[in-house]
């Protein structure tokens, strides 16, 4: 998803994960309307959708292992969630996920001791543990240097490539969008103005979206 700031990219992602309620019309997420669900059923749907922002969703005061385990809070009962804060549960899976993002040795560090890029990778590890069917990424690379941004998107794309999954990402960098995505949708002022396979587009085609005066 590409578009100038204020085009409605974050709002669209919010509509999908239920953070924003539609004022008109209806939303279908994985075949269900989240507005029609309450309580446990809504939580079950949310557990199937994973969101990653610019590592702002992590709790700095918790150890990395808990922040990764938070990906399983949708399926864990409250008692197990509480006990895990005292004796970390499911550490092997956490370690495996952290190893895939290259942070296995930091598993028991406090999250606020990590750098911005490392935290971003912890957020990806949380998704790896959550195993969502739909990944929503709201400018996942904007706080990272180009090499790291490429790596993080590669990891997200790798997760989506396993099994029957999909990712919707809003991106600032046209090159990243073309390299890691299969389809590019351009939004301007809340309307779809472009929808094409990434293979048919070039960086120059997308430049207009980032240069648009706003």
């Amino acid at each position: 998803m590409v578009g100038p700031s204020g085009a409605g990219k974050s709002t669209l992602l919010g509509l999908v994960n239920g953070a924003v309620a539609p004022t008109a019309g209806a939303v279908q997420v994985l075949g269900v309307d989240p507005a029609a669900l309450r309580g446990r059923a809504l939580r079950r749907l949310r557990a199937r959708v994973g969101t990653v922002h610019q590592h702002l969703e992590l709790v700095g005061q918790l150890r990395v292992v808990h922040n990764v385990n938070a990906g399983r809070l949708g399926s864990w009962p409250a008692g197990r969630a509480a006990w895990s804060l005292l004796r970390p549960q499911g550490v092997p899976e956490v370690l495996e996920a952290l190893d895939r993002v290259g942070l296995a040795e930091r598993v028991f560090d406090r999250t606020d001791r990590l750098s911005g890029g490392q935290r971003q990778r912890v957020a990806v590890a949380r998704l790896l543990v959550q195993q969502p069917e739909l990944v929503l990424a709201d400018e996942p690379a904007s706080a990272l240097d180009p090499a790291l941004a490429d790596r993080v998107l590669g990891q997200l794309a790798g997760l989506v490539a396993t099994g029957d999954r999909a990712m919707v990402a809003s991106l600032h960098d046209p090159a990243l969008a073309l390299r890691h995505c299969t389809r590019v949708v351009g939004l301007v002022a809340g309307r779809v103005v472009l929808d094409a396979p990434a293979a048919e587009l070039t960086v120059a085609d997308l430049a207009t979206f980032y240069g648009a005066p706003r």
Partner: protein, 539 residues
């Protein structure tokens, strides 16, 4: 990606617990258990079943406070007295604080550490004694004079204000101040242009906060006889006129709420003043607040009929010379020292139970008392408002009054005093904990909700980790306050060092009074030190 998946499982680094924190946690559990045992919770009766009827009558009067015109007139007059004491006391404190800040700021001393440490140590003495203790001492020097109330608030508050003002000045980034000095400005102009402007918001804001606190202290001084709302409350209480007691409590709560809301409004405005950029003008609300305060000072001076002459009469000088002469050297008799020791243990246990009760209650209520960030139903909003009003009532009633109420249902001893302090502190700590919860970054919790976490798990992972640090730090700070307040509860009979002090002052045994006062100051210093260490371990 798949290639990485096939790699051998990564080695598991050891889970290291932070040893200092575990030690502090274990120590806390032991100390709380020891305090509860000391209060007699595990040995013998603590409940007083006979008092249930009287308590029922007291509670029943809550809905029918006394509203007859004669009593309301008396009530209005005592409110005015309380306000006048608070205003004059706070003004004196701010004046003393401004002078004292110069004496204890690092800016003044520079690298001369010894002088700075001595000046700071000197401030600890007036700070370590509760306002009520000052009142008790001053009444023996000045007699029954309005100065007693004003000085009893002004002296200890002045010492605290001096410390805070100095810290505010020292925390300002030094670059602009040093640049002025380097450009050849004198020391005073450099401070006026480089340090005061960035610190002025904090200084004013803290002054208004002190005014709020002074209202509460003026009530407490009334309880020990200085007149005003507190005096009226204790009169009504001792004559068992429960309807009047509740009228006083409601008046008190309204006064505290007014001070609270007014102070917060001024402080919020100070953080973001409304001034036009194109011409020289001041923020109207702030100007009005400052002018109103000045008018209140003049009115209070007139209303309490205070004259500086009282402080300079021959009688005052003779009395002061006599008391000081009799008070030195302090009494170091073995019996007295032993008694001070055991009373100090009582005081510590009382404060520990109080903080344990208040912290537990604050953690339980913080979620309900915090204003939720998003949309919520009317039920949630109503619960929140009720909890907040309840907390306000808890902190509006001074701890000694809570002790008297609890004595209906509990047998006399350390426990009612401790619970009274605990209930009052819960009122303060509950609000602080709710504010700490409100100030947390909402995004982690929103992210947890978005991935399907339930309310309990969301609270455990999204709120608890962030709120624990600030709430425990507040609890430790309030513990230092509670040690001082437990002296006050003791003054009115709940045991501990306060009771000992009251009996020694009553017997005009000034040498023993000095010993007790020294013990109080040392105890406060020790608690400050332990609290500071514990806070450092939390960070």
């Amino acid at each position: 990606m798949t290639a990485v998946l096939d790699a051998p499982a990564p080695a598991r680094p050891p889970l290291r617990r932070v040893r200092a924190r575990w030690a502090w946690g274990l120590g806390t559990v032991v100390v709380v258990g020891w305090s509860l045992a000391g209060a007699g919770l595990f040995s013998g009766d603590v409940l007083n079943p006979a008092g249930r009827v009287q308590f029922g009558r007291f509670a029943g009067a809550a809905l029918s406070p006394a509203l007859d015109p004669a009593f309301l007139q008396v009530l209005a007059a005592s409110v005015l007295v309380t306000v006048a004491y608070a205003v004059l006391g706070a003004t004196l404190a701010v004046l003393l604080g401004a002078l004292g800040a110069v004496l204890v700021a690092r800016t003044t001393w520079g690298r001369r550490r010894l002088g700075w440490t001595l000046a700071r140590g000197l401030l600890a003495v007036p700070r370590g004694l509760h306002e009520a203790v000052w009142g008790l001492l001053l009444v023996n020097v000045l007699g029954l004079d309005p100065w007693v109330g004003v000085l009893a608030i002004g002296l200890p508050y002045g010492a605290v204000t001096a410390k805070v003002f100095a810290d505010l000045l020292d925390e300002v980034p030094r670059a602009s101040h040093d640049a002025l000095l380097a450009a050849g400005a004198g020391r005073v102009p450099a401070v006026l242009y480089g340090l005061l402007p960035p610190a002025s918001g904090g200084l004013l804001s803290y002054s208004f906060y002190r005014l709020e606190c002074a209202v509460r202290s003026a009530v407490v001084l009334g309880l020990i006889g200085a007149g005003g709302l507190g005096y009226q409350l204790s009169l009504s209480f001792s004559s068992l006129r429960w309807e009047q007691v509740w009228s006083c409590v409601y008046a008190l709560a309204a006064l505290c709420l007014l001070a609270d809301v007014g102070g917060r409004a001024v402080r919020r405005r100070l953080a973001a003043p409304h001034t036009p950029g194109d011409r020289l003008a001041r923020d109207r609300v702030l100007t009005a607040a400052v002018l109103t305060t000045l008018a209140l000072v003049a009115w209070s001076w007139w209303y309490l009929a205070i004259t500086p002459a009282t402080l300079l009469t021959d009688r005052t000088r003779q009395q002061l010379t006599y008391v000081l002469g009799a008070a030195w050297p302090p009494d170091t008799d073995g019996d007295l020292v032993r008694s001070i020791g055991s009373r100090a243990v009582d005081t510590v246990q009382m404060s520990v139970i109080a903080i344990a009760v208040a912290t537990a209650g604050a953690v339980l209520l913080a979620g309900a008392a915090a204003r939720p960030a998003g949309r919520t139903g009317p039920g949630r909003r109503l619960t929140g408002a009720l909890v907040r009003i309840g907390l306000l009532l808890l902190r509006a009633v001074p701890p000694p009054v809570w002790a008297l109420v609890l004595l209906f249902v509990l047998l006399p001893g350390v426990l009612p005093g401790a619970l009274a302090l605990g209930v009052y502190t819960l009122g303060v700590l509950g609000r602080l904990a709710a504010e700490a919860t409100e100030e947390l970054d909402p995004r982690p919790r929103a992210a947890l909700a978005a991935l399907g976490a339930g309310p309990a798990a969301g609270w455990l992972y999204g709120v608890l980790p962030g709120a624990t640090g600030p709430v425990l730090a507040f609890a430790l700070y309030r513990w230092e306050v509670a040690v001082r307040d437990s002296v006050l509860v003791g003054l009115l009979g709940a045991g501990g060092l306060g009771a000992l002090l009251a009996s020694r002052v009553g017997a005009f045994d000034w040498a023993a009074v000095t010993s007790v006062l020294v013990a109080m100051v040392l105890l406060t210093l020790a608690v400050d030190l332990v609290g500071a260490r514990a806070r450092a371990a939390l960070r």
